[in-house]
Each structure stands twice: as C-alpha cells, then as structure tokens.
C-alpha cells in the first residue's frame, strides 16, 4: 500500500519541463471527453440524486422533501412493485434464453460449411434494424389472426395464443423479439469460439471424448469470460428495457408489460413528477448495481481465464 502511494509522488517530482508540457497537451487533447463527461454524465447523475429528494415538476423550484419520494415508492405505489415484478420476470426469462440461444447460434455459425459468411451476416442483420422499426414488424408477425407466426402455427395444427394482447403471453412475446436482435452477442461468442486452440479438441478426441463432452468440458469453460460479459451487459439492458414495450404494448395489456423504465418515463413526462422519477431511477441504479455485483462476485467460481 505504502509503496503504491509513494510511487506517483516521486514521479510528479521528477516531471521534467517536457513531461509537464506533454501532460498539459494530453489533458487539452482529451478535454472534449472530460468536459463532456463532466457536463453530460457526472452533472446529470448527481442532479438526479438531488432531485430525488425533492418535489420537482420541471418548472419552478424544486421543494426539498427529504426521503418522502422513497417512502412513497415503497409504501404507497402498487405500480412501483408491479413494474419491478414485471422487469424481474422479464429479466429471468430473457437473460438465460439469450445466453443459450446466442451460444447455440454461435456454435452453429462456427461450423465449417460453405456460405457461412452469408449466414453470419444474416443473423447479425436484425441488430442493425432500428428498435422502433423492428417493433413495428414484430407487431405484424405476432398478429393473432393474420400474423406470420400464428398462420404458420395454424398450418401445423396449433392454435396460437393472441401473443401481445394476452397478459400471460405479452412478456414472453417481447422476449422473442429481444432474441431476434441477439446478433452482436453471437458475434462475441463466435470470436471467443475461434480463439479456442484446436489442440484442446484434438487431445480430447484422442482421450475418446464425444462432441457433447467436448462442448461441455472445453467449449463452455473457454467462453465463460464472454458469458460473464454478456450476463453483466444483459442484466443492465433487461432492467432498463423500454423501447419495444413502449412501442408495441404501451405497458398493456392490463399492465402486463409495464416495465420499470416505462413506469419511470410516465411518472416523469406524463405526470411531471421529476423528483419521484429520479428516486425511481436511483432505486433502479441500486438494484442493477446489486445484481451486477452478485454476478461479478460469483464469477470467480465459474469464469475461466486462460493464462
């Protein structure tokens, strides 16, 4: 510890004129980023913390109310808990599904077949479609009567549910939509798969391992860093899930897709309760923080880094 704190001190003392000049120049060059970060990230974050302790309607002055917003959220707001429940439900459904599907697709796309670049592009393509546009397309696909999905199901003799207009199916439907845009994660897994040295598999084959055992004991452990990354990012994404729900279901039917961020948005921009919404945002921040910390803590037990 001591050593570390002493180190920079010594270095500052030994800065030459040239080094000082470079330091200054360096700071000037990164100043656009520093200034942007301070103004557009740090300042808003801390003002939202301040506003979360106030009653603030965007106009006029914020009134300091102490912890009242937080107390109201926990004691007098059914929608707060409902939206949290919906979001956790969505997270628990979407997160494992997206890990499994992304790895499965990556393994398929990693096989050596002709025209593989074509398929790789194909699966990445949905990622570049704007969320609102893909939401509009999915509303058509999920249309209970004439939609592509139910029409196909009907051909197979299955009577499909009304998807988005059924409170039980609305959340799973949105998970389908989310899985469609999984291209960037697939690319990451694909890159990780190609990093795995061939000789591991050769050695396993010599030892008589079948392909399932190879996947289980070589492939999966080797891509755990990417799974870890995906879990952390996916958690943050799932808790902030907004656009598709806003466009496709508007929180309905019967509040089945009233997610946390959508509820927050309504409090902020429809009811103009900025202080209350800021308090909600901070609770979300804490929840995501805890979830991320749990994943990070647990990672020591299952993420394997190659030396």
């Amino acid at each position: 510890m001591l050593k570390e704190t002493q180190l920079p001190k010594r270095r500052i003392r030994s800065l030459t004129r040239q080094e000082l000049h470079n330091l200054r120049l360096g700071l000037v060059f990164i100043s656009p980023w520093i200034i942007g970060f301070l103004i557009f990230t740090i300042y808003p974050i801390f003002s939202s913390l301040y506003y979360s302790f106030t009653d603030y309607g965007l106009f006029g002055n914020p009134n300091w109310v102490g912890l009242q917003n937080y107390i109201n959220l926990f004691t007098n707001d059914d929608k707060f808990f409902l939206s949290l429940y919906n979001t956790v439900f969505f997270f628990l459904l979407a997160m494992p599904a997206s890990v499994v599907v992304a790895i499965f697709l990556a393994i398929l796309l990693n096989s050596k077949l002709r025209g593989m670049t074509f398929f790789r592009s194909l699966f990445f393509l949905p990622t570049i479609v704007p969320a609102v546009a893909s939401a509009a397309v999915w509303m058509w696909i999920l249309n209970p009567q004439w939609g592509l999905l139910n029409t196909s199901l009907r051909l197979a003799g299955v009577h499909g549910p009304p998807w988005l207009s059924d409170p039980d199916w609305a959340k799973p439907s949105l998970v389908f939509v989310a899985l469609w845009t999984i291209g960037s994660e697939v690319i990451l897994y694909l890159a990780a798969l190609q990093e795995i040295p061939r000789d591991y598999y050769e050695a396993a084959r010599v030892d008589g391992a079948n392909s399932f055992q190879q996947t289980r004991f070589i492939t999966l452990p080797m891509i755990t860093p990417v799974i870890f990354f995906h879990l952390v990012n996916g958690t943050i994404w799932a808790f902030q899930y907004f656009t598709e729900a806003y466009v496709m279901t508007g929180g309905g039917p019967a509040n089945a897709t009233l997610f946390y961020a959508l509820n927050l948005y309504r409090n902020a921009f429809t009811s103009l309760k900025m202080g209350y919404a800021s308090a909600q945002a901070w609770i979300l921040f804490i929840v995501v923080m805890i979830a991320t910390l749990i994943i990070v803590r647990s990672s020591k037990g299952w993420v394997y880094y190659e030396e």
Binding site: P162, S165, A254, R266
Partner: protein, 429 residues
Amino acid sequence: MKLKRITFIILVVCLVVTACGGKTGTPAASTEEVTLVFWNGFNAHEVDSLNQMIAKYWTPTHPNIKIEAKGEVGPDEILTAVSGGETVDVAILWDPTPVKTWAYQGALLDLTSYIESQKVNLEDIFIPAGLEWVRQMDGKYYGLPFVNFNRGFYWNKDLFRKAGLDPDTPPKDIDQLADYARKLTIVENGEIQQLGWAINQDPSNMVELAMDFGGNFYDPATGNITATDPKILKALNWDLGLANEFGLEKVNTFVAGFTGQGNDPFMLGKLAMTIEGCWSVTFFEKAGVTLDYGVGPIPAADPTLQKTNEVETNPIVVMKSTKHPDQAFEFAWFLASNADVSREFAQLVSNLPQVKAAMANFSAEPKTMVFVDLSNSPNARGWAPVTVSAFYATEWATAIQSIYTGSATPADALDTVQKNVTAEADKYK
C-alpha cells in the same frame, strides 16, 4: 503567434454575436420588431401549410412580429427544452391532456386577463366543448383551442343490405344497436368472420360509449373523479355482455387480428358498425376506399343523450417563460380566432374548426359536416378535462384491457380506476 491572433479574433466575434443575440431578448415595445419562437406537434406537410397560412394571414397584418416556426415536436420535447432554458414562446400541442398538468406546474402563462381585454364572450366565438380543455375549474384560461376533433358512429351500408336492414337508417338507440349487432355478426366454423359492433375496439371508443349511456367521468362543478358512475358501469356491462354472447375469446381473437395502420376492420368490410374519428372520412377517401358507409351520432341510451360526443382540441399555449407575453398572446389569439385559418387548416388536417364562424360551408363532404354539427351539439364535451387527464386515460385503458382479458370485472376495474386516479388527483390539490 498567428494562431493566437486568429483565436483572439474568433473570440471577439463570438462575444459580439452573443451580445447582439442578447439584445433581442430585451422586452420590446409593440413598434419594435420581435421574433416569436413557435413550436407545434403537427407533422411535416401540415407544418408547411401552417406556415403558409401564417405567411398569408398573419405576416401582412403584423410586420413587426416575426414567427419562427418548428413542427413535429411532441409535448416531451417542448417540456424538456423549455425547462432547459430554451426559448419557446407559443406552442400547439397535439393532444389537450397536458395543458392542465403544465398549468399546475407553472409552465404556462395565465391568459385570462388577456382574453378579458378582448371584450368578447369566448363561447360566442369558439365551439364550447373545445374550450373545456383549456379552462381551469376556477375559470382561468391557460390556452386557446385550435382545430377540434371528435368521434362518431360509422356503419357499413352494404353489410346492412346483406343482413336485410335498411341501409339508410342506423340504429336509433342502444337496444336497437344490440339487436343490429347480433344480426350483423357472422360466425363460421367457430370463428367470427364478421362482427356487427366494434366490441372493445379501443379505450377512446369505450369513453364515447360510456358517455352515450349518460356516464360522466368527472364532476364539472368540483373536478372530482367519478369513474364509478353507475352509467359508465352499465355501458361496460352492456358491451361485455354482447361480447359474451358471441364468446369473449372469439371476439378478442377477431379484434386483435386488426392491429396496425391500414388494417382497419371497418375499412376492410369485416366490421359493420363502429366508432371512428372525424378524420376517417378523409382518410378513407385518400386511401381510395370504395365503401358505402354512413356516419351519424352514436346511438344513445335515451333521447336526452342524443348527439353526445367527446370533443378534443389541439390547444395553443403561451409558455410562461416568454419574454414577449403581449405579442405571444396576440399571435395565439389570432391563430385561434381567425375563421379563415381555422377553416383552411382544419380541412387540411382532417379535423374540425374550433371557430363557430368557420362552421358554415366548412366542407363540401356531407359526412364531414355531420361531425362539425356534432362538435357543436349541447351534449358535446370533453370526457375528463382535469389536471390528471393523461393519467386518467392510461388508467382507463388498463381497466378496459383487464375487463376484456377477463382479469377483472367491470365493477372491480372501475373501482381501481377511481382509487388510483383520485389518489393521483389529490397530489395536485
């Protein structure tokens, strides 16, 4: 050295420019030239026409008040911009629900004294129903109406003929509506092929239906929320009862099949009777729909409720932060009260005039004139022009969804609405 000099020059120029910019911000006498920033929620081609109208009617008579217009801005954008210190003097919102919330939060200029100085009775000039959205319970005005819109009853004459009904006589009351709905519904192989009446088409239509049963969503005298009004409950039970007759699940599947733009079951001849907006007349015409249909007032539960319909407006508001309140009001008043602008612009956006003087000969299309007439009926009004109307609308939509998905009875759903909206409204007292 050279670089330093250039930097210096740039800095000086910037200073001069900002200084000049600051000048226009000082309060101006009426003879001084003033520029008003005017934001509105209309879409691109509508904004062009609005600008043309301003150029045609406003600019020649008001050379000293220039208008800097920007369209396609929603309420959220206006809010964040203004609260962030950006100058917006006058705004038109695409939906009237935010006016009272914004007024409560102190975002809007109180126009009452300006309106009094006009020495006119507003109800003589404007269609009364549109005014409700901009007038507070205490009589204060925080906006002016601009192009109104409402909904009415549409029926498909061809389907009437096929069912052996007189195509020129729509159902005269609610009982006949139910009767016709049964006659016009066709079920084949256990699936609804054609629905007589638009059950649960959308929450706005359910508002209309409830009003046509005599339901009131709020008490105009006190502003209290009255979602549990027995007549609203009666309307919901009536509609749900009809759905249960055909099978709620079948109706839901049928209705859910028609979501998305241009996928209107009435337009496609799959729905015989429905409630649609006044704009659908022009929309059908522009879309080249060759449908033989009629429009009229929604059948009401009893004769005193005839021509009941819900009128809304695109309110013009003046932001409190404006530095030119006099000129801003002058402009807002001109746009709102000028009969030529009202007529031309309302036609253009398939809405209705808010000015009484623009009503006569408003449109050559008799169907549109039906809506003009409806909007000025004594039974025309806003459904819930209260401070929490946007919140109310969301709660109402949720209630309708929970009723038709079978997760709540109409009575329970209305109790929830009443409880939630009252709690919300209490925060604004």
